[in-house]
Symmetry: C2
Subunit: 503 residues, 2 copies
């Protein structure tokens, strides 16, 4: 049995399958960055960028004085191009998100490419409770129960970055060096929030694909699945329709005698299928991830994929001979995602039933992003967000009660335009409209210095990836705008510093 | 035995005496608001302002998900003058500080007086761990040990206010009502910080006597005691000198046989004196408090005092007949503070040795405000802040380790001018230069909307007190400026709201 990239793949699926117990709440789209380990295929990438791996003695609870042991927070650092403290060399700080920091580092080529140009130091701190940065000494201990997971929150992570960078600068006598924040997806949300909450620490933030508005009812609850659906529809209406039809068929086949075996065979599953819902979740997550990584060139971010993979998926579904069943079409299409290299003989829906997901904890506490699926505009089954069953699931899974209005209380969100206009400055919200998370982000300029860079054909934090020869013009342009804006922040900062010196 | 206002007084002294174990660290000046109960003499004041007392089911830990019981946060509310949600009536939110909220409410007449003028609702939430707002059900349980005290922090208190006001507004459909923050002393720090950290919740803050720069080495460590000393020196150099001489005399008398009895007799103490240090601390705190309440008219904030009480203290010291000993002069002077009404027969230095102080906990965790006393410019004994012994004392007292650099990491402070200029807006820092806390506050305009209102002859948050017939012109003017600025914030807010509606 050969499976492509089982580690990363299984992890993604695991996240979703954990929520599959009740039909009302099984949909919980994930960001890309849930790989808790660097996929083996990307090991070669670590050689592409050089960095030192260090550990910082970090406080578990910044906002209270509960007597908890400190933990080792991992961070990657490179000073090769840094022009040093005397010339106030900038520091580029990537806000680590929900996964192994090395994985984000190798997939954030943009920051590494900028460093020499700006004479900047590069720092990639890892998010607590991910990768190696585990409170209580190990993942096993950290993920033991609700009490040990309690301090896995965005505010604590931001405080980690604030404390770490302040200490680092002090030790280097680099207090005057400007810090620029970078982040993609959840990391982009952290970058934007850090700029808002810690303006004394960072002069600006590039928040790529950061859905800071995906809370409560700030954006319509259907947005996410509507965008995924539209990504398919724009390639082919029949593809959209095939998928839309498939859910009922899967469901009804699954209810027949030997129906689950039939489904397992049709979809080449390695093991037994426990319920048709498991299969639907597996497909659902593939479509959502395809929308996120609908990149304009072949990529290997999650798994090896062709350029604009949704087009290829739809081609496979549409181009099957007349008379091909809906399920066979779905299988052919989905194989582009799960088995583009063709080396997989069969598929596992979930190979780590005992794992625990940090992101699921976060989604069950602060990061409640309500989503529905609309009967007409979505190709997914109709489904309405139900906060009660959501909370019940969270209780069953973690013995924790979500606080769905906390994020907007702490970071704002309602009436965000006037708020960002008055208080925010130096934030770039970059988004590609193919990315389903773009619907929860900031897509219009809010002020002169809180700007939106939107590309029609971009997907999930594409701009943060390393430049390639296949980059389309609009991507090259987007990155050039980002560089120009960041340059402006740094120049402004130097000007003000100079003015202070001369006073 | 009659003692004036033993509750409030003893409480202040207690705070200081708790730190009197080692000579290096006994100096820990307190704000005014440490009265955990409303002094009986001020009971009549509660009838002056009418409010409803309510309780909010509050989260103990906003930044983590430790499973802790909720607690009842008390808040006072008055809607008599509120013009309601449809007219977007403003909400005046006083950031409760380290004491009983009723005490602050009755001593913050300014806010009550403004309410009718602005058609505003008035809300006074109580700071957690003070007054009746006790996690774990009672003061006894809340103050049991470091673990129960753990969540007594400024960030948690700010989050309390944010959550409470957001909920209150939601329930009243008053999401569009602008919130203006008020606060004095530590409450003023909270108001300023809340405006910086929660700009989406409040449109501006009047931060009266808020020493947000009294951390690390942002202001010279001698500032506080130098200002106290100068307050005495400006009244009379001989008074300053008498006090400066007294410490060595007290110390040497205390070391003689029967010396402590002699001191106790000289100072009319009710009980035995355990060490000359206890007496010094008692005097030290009186001088510091005198500087804070050196108000231009007779007041009863801490205790009944004449107008400009330092002048009166110095008169008593200076006008004693030639040949009066230094200690007798000190006693005569200090009696103005401790016994202005003349009804006390003797004094207790500390009548509640088993009490615990919330502020001492805060000073031992986040609120590390390092202070020294300069040999030449200060009338207090020379003394240098020692962070090691400070931390040792905190460990001995609470089994907690201070985080002296945390406040500036979380809220900024270094390079505050350029930070406040770029990010802050709509903050008034009001200060009176007689107030020793003014040295740690913002005394210059930082930008068009972050302004300093400084009065030469004002003391600790005098502007927040109710208007009196004895108010000097400069005070009337200061308050008028505050009203005008706040009016501007609210008008601006309405204009922007209108622009949004018309868009």
């Amino acid at each position: 049995m050969a499976k492509p990239f089982p580690n990363s793949l299984a992890f993604f699926l695991l996240l979703i399958s954990l929520f599959s117990s009740t039909p009302e709440s099984h949909r919980l789209p994930q960001f890309l960055g849930k790989a808790s380990r660097l996929p083996k295929t990307q090991n070669n990438l670590t050689q592409q960028y050089t960095y030192e791996t260090r550990y910082f003695h970090q406080t578990v609870d910044h906002f209270s004085f509960t007597d908890l042991p400190k933990f080792q927070q991992r961070y990657l650092i490179n000073s090769d191009y840094w022009v040093g403290p005397n010339r106030m060399g900038p520091i580029f700080l990537y806000c680590g998100n929900e996964g192994d920091i090395e994985w984000f580092a190798v997939n954030t080529g943009f920051v590494w490419e900028l460093a020499p140009r700006f004479g900047a130091m590069v720092v990639f701190p890892e998010h607590r409770y991910y990768g190696e940065s585990m409170p209580y000494g190990s993942q096993k201990e950290a993920y033991k129960n609700a009490s040990t997971l309690a301090h896995l929150t965005a505010e604590q992570a931001l405080a980690d970055y604030a404390v770490l960078i302040t200490d680092l600068k002090r030790n280097l006598s680099a207090e005057s060096s400007p810090v620029v924040l970078f982040g993609g997806s959840y990391g982009g949300m952290l970058a934007a929030w850090m700029r808002l909450k810690y303006p004394h620490i960072a002069i600006g933030a590039l928040a790529s694909s950061a859905p800071i508005l995906q809370f409560e009812d700030i954006v319509p609850l259907e947005t996410f699945y509507d965008i995924v659906s539209n990504d398919f529809k724009r390639e082919s209406t029949s593809c959209f329709n095939t998928i839309k039809k498939s859910w009922n068929i899967i469901n009804s086949v699954g209810q027949k005698a030997n129906g689950l075996d039939h489904l397992a065979k049709t979809f080449h599953l390695c093991g037994k299928l426990k319920s048709s819902g498991d299969l639907s979740d597996w497909l659902d997550s593939a479509y959502s991830f395809l929308a996120m990584v609908d990149y304009p060139y072949p990529s290997e971010f999650l798994m090896p994929l062709p350029a604009y993979p949704i087009k290829e998926v739809c081609k496979e579904m549409d181009n099957s001979p007349d008379g091909t069943s809906v399920l066979d079409r779905i299988y052919k299409g989905i194989s582009v995602y799960y088995n583009y290299t063709g080396i997989a003989d069969c598929f596992e829906l979930d190979d780590d039933p005992h794992g625990m997901s940090g992101w699921n904890w976060q989604a069950c506490t602060e990061m409640v992003m309500p989503m529905s699926s609309n009967r007409d505009s979505s190709m997914f089954p109709e489904w309405e967000f139900n906060s009660t069953s959501y909370a019940e699931d969270c209780w069953n899974q973690f013995q924790v009660t979500p606080r769905p209005t906390w994020i907007t209380t702490e970071f704002g969100g309602h009436d965000y335009k006037s708020i960002l206009k008055t208080f925010g400055s130096n934030i770039i919200f970059s988004n590609g409209l193919l990315d389903p998370w773009s619907g929860g982000s900031v897509l219009e300029n809010v002020s002169e210095s809180v700007v939106a860079l939107v590309t029609e054909k971009g997907a999930h934090h594409l701009d943060l990836r390393a430049a390639t020869e296949d980059d389309p013009d609009w991507l090259v342009k987007q990155r050039a705008s980002e560089v120009e804006i960041i340059e402006g922040w740094i120049e402004d900062y130097y000007k003000k510093k100079k003015a202070t010196f001369n006073m």
